[in-house]
């Protein structure tokens, strides 16, 4: 079959912090895609947040021109992948757009959870894998041991794998040569009906949605009428082109094997969903490319503006973010305690945190978020099933036959000495042990089935601290399993605070209830009268604390010169009260509320 000999499509895969972005930067420099002095560190991650967290949130792509040692110039399409388990689906679509993947392994750390997870994903897509041992400049680097580990664990020959330092640039050119030699060129299917895989889409306020595609079959050019095969939506192509590191380069069209962008005045990213197949209206393909699915939010929480006046601003901000993020869902909800806000759905906790931070940082919003929840399936005695992602909607226990909760299959990779700690943690989180495999002498893979609601919160943080950062973690949603659940209600001075309610496994209810009561007691300042803090399950109080009444808050002297001062003090106090959340007669400062919601172990 004919090939497009001078094109190579590849991704870079790595565990977090193994140097993916740094290597990408060096590749851009080496191919003169960007002038070194113009180079912002880690150009591919162009959101502040991404750069700070050292993770790539959304995939991006860039075309590099590389003049290889064989004298030919190759178009190297680097498709970047998001680096976190929340975005596994996006990763899989990016990989599906490639023929090869550069696997980076840290010469001091070796194989980690996402190294394996991403490698298996790449192998699932029949990608040619180009191993690269990075960070050889580190004092703790042991490239030969790590190469041996990659050979053992993954079964990839690593004898000739480039040993590089992306930081210093040492041996990075070898990586480009390896890509040219090892990654197969794409097939030439120019004559077939168009099939282009959408692996990313970005909203741009001037052009509408910019759709990033890999053309598998056929070709597309401006003026064509394109059709999204999953949604059926049709658009007239305005522009096609290549993504360069710092610009977009319009072209006459895109044909099979190529990676590029399409604009067609598309209004929201939900019209150009990742994984969908683009074809042409006048000569449609018979079958879409395999693997499309609509991503569903797994984790939900309420988001409320700290200042009620910001409600509309929050809505606008969420709408804007959603333009670019088809996985984010939101709908209005009202809380007696927090006022007007939105119930938001996310792929996972990281996704939630990213959205929260972007709202606070880019849109300057002060938010209160409720405890994240998963979607429970509640089977009622009348044989109907309701899906609950908001504790406030939890049905009356008397009407519940049984409840189910989502379960994940988790892999935890760790040095063997932490196995005990990890198993304790997983047991504590209601995990069901599956198996343990030695990947190498100093690396085990522990497999557990864990309820999703036990890991969405702080599992990863606790895991890290118990294993001094050595363990890594990866999970995939499996199924729903029957569970004994209860809803905990928090009552302040007898009034239920809806925003603090949550759903929890029966076995954990007492301990958690006591903890919440203590936290509230610590964090609610004394007020004019005693405040009973009660935690209840279905009307039965299972934990109780009391915030004692404030005894002294008085200006003892108030004579001629003190009156304006007292007036100002009064104004200040009234102003301070406005910043409080009011539950019935009880005032809870924002900070206390957050402290309770961010309940840690």
């Amino acid at each position: 079959m004919a090939k497009k000999d001078y094109i190579r499509n590849f991704s870079i895969i790595a565990h977090i912090d193994h140097g993916k972005s740094t290597l990408a930067d060096r590749l851009l420099e080496l191919t003169d895609s960007v002038l070194k002095r113009d180079m912002e560190e880690q150009l591919l991650d162009n959101m502040d947040l991404e750069r700070e967290r050292g993770i790539t949130i959304k995939a991006h792509a860039v075309k590099l021109d590389y003049k290889a040692k064989d004298g030919h110039t190759y178009a190297l399409n680097l498709i970047d992948t998001p680096g976190h388990v929340d975005f596994n689906y996006e990763v899989s679509r990016s990989l599906a757009a490639c023929e090869g993947a550069v696997l980076i392994v840290d010469a001091s750390q070796g194989v980690e959870a996402q190294t394996l997870a991403n490698t298996y994903l790449a192998l699932d897509h029949d990608l040619e894998i180009v191993p690269v041992i990075n960070k050889i400049d580190l004092p703790a680097a042991d490239p030969e041991r790590v190469a041996a580990e990659v050979e053992d664990v993954i079964g990839l020959p690593c004898m000739d794998a480039p040993r590089v330092s992306a930081k210093t640039g040492q041996n990075v050119e070898q990586v480009l040569e390896e890509i040219v030699h090892l990654v197969p060129p794409p097939d030439d299917h120019d004559d077939k009906p168009l099939r282009a895989l959408i692996f990313d889409s970005v909203y741009d306020s001037y052009r509408g949605v910019i759709v990033y595609v890999r053309v598998m079959d056929g070709s597309i050019r401006p003026g064509d009428t394109m059709r999204m095969m999953a949604t059926g939506a049709e658009f007239t192509v305005v522009e096609t082109g290549y993504m360069r590191a710092t610009s977009m380069e319009p072209t006459a069209g895109l044909s099979s094997g190529e990676v590029g962008y399409i604009t067609a005045s598309i209004k929201t990213v939900s019209d150009a969903r990742v994984g969908d197949t683009v074809t042409l209206a006048d000569r449609p393909a018979e079958e879409p490319l395999p693997g499309y699915r609509k991503v569903n939010p797994m984790v939900f929480c309420g988001m409320y503006p700290a200042d009620g006046a910001d409600y509309e601003n929050l809505r606008e901000a969420l709408e804007k973010l959603q333009l670019n993020d088809a996985a984010l869902s939101f709908e209005p909800e009202t809380s007696g305690a927090l006022g007007f806000g939105f119930r938001c759905g996310f792929l996972g906790l990281l996704h939630l945190e990213i959205i929260e931070e972007r709202l606070e940082r880019e849109y300057d919003l002060d938010l209160v978020t409720t405890v994240p929840s998963v979607v429970y399936k509640i089977h009622l005695t009348d044989k109907t099933v309701v899906e609950i992602d908001n504790p406030s909607h939890y049905p009356d226990p008397a009407t519940i036959d049984y409840a189910e909760e989502p379960v994940v299959e988790a892999h935890i990779y760790s040095p063997p000495e932490y196995v005990g700690q990890i198993m304790d943690l997983c047991q504590d989180r209601r995990g069901v042990y599956q198996e343990m495999t030695y990947l190498a002498a100093d690396r085990v893979d522990i497999r557990y089935m864990l309820p999703l609601n036990e890991i969405i919160y702080d599992f990863f943080d606790v895991l890290k601290s118990r294993t001094r950062g050595y363990a890594s973690f990866d999970y995939e949603i499996r199924d729903y399993a029957r569970s004994e659940l209860v809803k905990l209600d928090v009552l302040l001075n007898g009034d239920a605070v809806d925003a603090l309610s949550f759903i929890i496994h029966t076995d954990k209810a007492y301990a958690r209830a006591r903890k919440i009561a203590e936290k509230l007691k610590e964090n609610i300042p004394r007020q004019m009268f005693e405040i009973p803090v009660q935690i209840a399950v279905g009307g039965k109080v299972i934990a109780r604390e009391t915030v004692k009444a404030m005894r002294k808050d008085v200006l003892a002297k108030c004579y001629g010169g003190d009156i304006t001062r007292k007036k100002k003090l009064l104004e200040k106090q009234k102003e301070g009260k406005k910043r409080m959340r009011r539950f019935g007669t009880v005032e809870v400062p924002q900070e206390a509320f957050m402290a309770v919601l961010k309940l840690d172990e």
Binding site: R551, K552, C558, I563, K567, L570
Partner: protein, 380 residues
């Protein structure tokens, strides 16, 4: 018109109602470690210069305002450091210009080394009320507060004032001071009662900013809020049992011995304050002289502190009093009743025993007084 007072108030006193006159004496022999009042140590020549300026201000103000004062309060600082002669000159000046017959004339005194004829001279010029800084009858507590007079000196001072015919005496007491206990407070209160004074002012210690007490706070062994509150209640009950009824958060008196001057502050009535850092409330405007001795000597103008006397301010002050915010008083002053919204906000607080609200008005209870900042922020 170049008179500084006129520039701020804009006009002469509109109402015929007599005002209160306050003279600030910003001198102290030494500074007590808890005090943030404006005062300094001065040479006798500076005191003379100051009194001369003050007399001039009194005369000028009287000419501008053309109103009477039925109370005069000489406070400080420590007015008694001026000596009887200077004080008498100031009082004579006020009598010539402002004071009505039968005006209440109060002088604050530090009972430390007062000359034998001091009160006789004051009484002769018409002083009929004396405020004496006791703070505590317990020597250790007094010393920690920087008070130099002994308990015996306080007793002698009270006796001397009484002998001079000044029956309206008040003692200042402090609560919540370092190392104070139920027993030591009892000792102080018993001492006050044994002297037969008809008035006591008792203040919960507040640690003021930039005072030595603030810097030393951690080392002071201060009673915590719960204990301080208990001390306050103990004091209220002890004084009440002895016939000194509470009429304001920190003030207790036998019938007829309430401070008429101080009641003007809490009734939101007009007063003129002269001296550095002294505040005034005239014709609905509040203003004050800068906290600076030299600029006052040079005749610097008072600074505006905005308007005063609206309902919120009135209620804020009235609720310091045992009589509270009274329907009749509100009606005659504002032409309307106490707003229903205010009553509604009172309901939960009344249920918790912090105040009483009925057709007569709204009154804070003792427990309400103790948390009055929070109560006011809730209802006003």
């Amino acid at each position: 018109m170049s008179d500084p007072l006129t520039r701020v108030t804009g006009e002469k006193a509109a109402d015929t109602q007599p005002i209160g006159l306050y003279l600030h004496i910003p001198f102290c022999r030494s500074k007590c470690p808890y005090c943030d009042f404006y005062s300094l140590r001065a040479e006798p020549t500076q005191m003379d210069a100051y009194c001369a300026v003050l007399e001039q201000k009194i005369a000028e103000s009287s000419a501008t305002l053309q109103c009477k004062a039925d109370t005069l309060y000489i406070g400080g600082g420590t007015p008694s450091v001026l000596g009887a002669k200077q004080l008498c000159r100031l009082i004579e000046c006020a009598k010539r210009t402002f004071l009505t017959d039968g005006a209440e004339i109060t002088v604050e005194c530090n009972p430390y080394r007062l000359p034998p004829d001091f009160f006789r001279e004051l009484a002769d010029v018409g002083v009929n009320r004396v405020s004496i800084g006791l703070q505590s009858a317990v020597t250790g507590e007094r010393r920690r507060l920087g008070r130099r007079a002994t308990r015996e000196e306080v007793e002698q001072t009270v006796r001397a004032a009484q002998a001079a015919g000044i029956r309206n005496l008040t003692l200042d007491v402090m609560l919540g001071i370092p190392e104070q206990t139920e027993a030591s407070l009892k000792e102080t209160l018993d001492f006050c009662l044994s002297l037969g004074v008809p008035h006591v002012s008792a203040y919960l210690l507040k640690i003021e900013e930039s005072t030595p007490f603030q810097r030393l706070r951690e080392t002071l062994d201060l009673p915590d809020d719960d204990r301080a509150a208990d001390l306050y209640l103990q004091m209220c009950e002890t004084l009440e049992r002895a016939g000194l009824a509470q009429y304001e958060i920190s003030n207790f008196a036998r019938a007829g011995f309430q401070s008429r001057h101080n009641l003007k502050y809490w009734h939101c009535e007009p007063y003129l304050g002269l001296g550095p850092a002294a505040h005034s409330f005239l014709n609905g405007k509040r203003f004050f002289y800068p906290r600076d001795f030299e600029s006052f000597l040079q005749g610097c103008a008072p600074i505006s502190d905005g308007t005063g006397g609206d309902f919120t301010e009135y209620a804020m002050l009235a609720l310091r009093l045992s009589e509270g915010l009274q329907e009749t008083a509100v009606l005659s002053r504002f032409g309307h009743s106490i707003p229903q919204t205010l009553y509604q906000k009172c309901v939960p607080l009344a249920a918790h025993g912090l105040l009483l609200a009925d057709e007569q008005g709204i009154r804070l209870t003792r427990n309400g007084f103790l948390v009055s900042n929070a109560v006011l922020a809730e209802i006003l």
